[in-house]
Subunit: 228 residues, 2 copies
Amino acid sequence: MPGAQNIKVAVDAVVFGYTSKEGLSVLLIKRNIQPFKNSWALPGGLVRDDESLEDAVQRELREETSISISYLEQLYSFGEPGRDPRNRVISITYYGLVRPDAFDVKADTDASDVAWFNIKKLPSLAFDHTTIISVAHERLKSKMLYQPVGFELLEEKFPFSELEKLYLAVLDRPFDRRNFKKKITKYGFLEETNEKQALEGAGRPGNLFRFNEEKYFLLKKEGISFEI
Amino acid sequence: MPGAQNIKVAVDAVVFGYTSKEGLSVLLIKRNIQPFKNSWALPGGLVRDDESLEDAVQRELREETSISISYLEQLYSFGEPGRDPRNRVISITYYGLVRPDAFDVKADTDASDVAWFNIKKLPSLAFDHTTIISVAHERLKSKMLYQPVGFELLEEKFPFSELEKLYLAVLDRPFDRRNFKKKITKYGFLEETNEKQALEGAGRPGNLFRFNEEKYFLLKKEGISFEI
DNA sequence: GCAAAAGTGTTTGGACTACACCCATGT
DNA sequence: ACATGGGTGTAGTCCAAACACTTTTGC
């Protein structure tokens, strides 16, 4: 009988948040243990023997960042020997989306070890976490081309330009404003309210929209064909 | 310090093969150890401490089925507590595609514990392997709508109808023959040869095609937009 | 000659692209 | 009045869908 396997199983989470001010952001923690003590890293940790992978992610997020998250999806499993300098650790990664409410963690832990970082201004990160974030970003980009995205990231009501800015921030390339609106509204998962809202600064106030959850999740299942 | 983690890490592979006679098939092994002794199962096993996940998959495939495989992609990681009745085992699954040549394993191991099963006639399987196969099948279905598929599954030269039957077998729904040909040939990754080949039985012999590997793999990277 | 598979074109509607001007508000 | 962002329509092009008959071969 060969020696027992000596590999640890961890989960890590790439949590995306969005505000029009800060753009697309990722939630990071500052490690206070070795290895990579004092480096920024993705929230995560070892899976307990009796909990599911999703539960482990939620627990770590609660423990390390005090947020909990409604949309979470498995991303990829990273398992190269040597990705952790001490033990063999394979990491099963997830990515999630949160609404701006969860940005409160930032205020609460201002001087602490949790913070949001704009996706384009990431610090250097522990382990292979930079790679993991870029895989997550690619996944999100391609996802938003065949499924509606936004419900999990925007406030309940929002001017249409918020959705547009979200797509711009994630896709990171320009597109035609009018055509985008036509395509999005065609699917009917957006409802127009009668309320208007002026953004800060000058400009004509825009109508507020909200998602029709039923149609949104239906289209999420069925998939849409989107070419922005 | 809490008790050490006691979770094992395994890999499992869903290997798809295709012939026009047998259709889309999956490579299975018959287990000769507990648990699920004498059940059919996916090839796979525990990862060694010093090998990468991909290496582990290739090694298990070699040991258990004697095939090696050129196209292999990570599928998903399954980790529910209880999916293995004895220990906590998380399985990182891969899927792969092989050409009919590899179907030789069937002949070689006729009376043994390796066999191909048509995707629609699977036996009952160990663990959650039925679920894993259906996830892999769904992945393959959606993959072939945005990337060319076939090079890894067909012989070097083949009549066009072979490719069409492959798509029919995987997608498992009818589509228009003429429009399919227009769409496929438009991308230019197929080359027409001057050879003709009569299938068994009656019918007009068709021209043989081959893949232009360069364009094929280019389109594989770039992605194509396919609506069959 | 008949059964089986291969080969091939046209029409039509819908979808995507490109593109520019006026409107409502704050300062 | 001007700066800022909101709101809107059309013409042209391309792509996809629908659709059926003729050709080559084996038997």
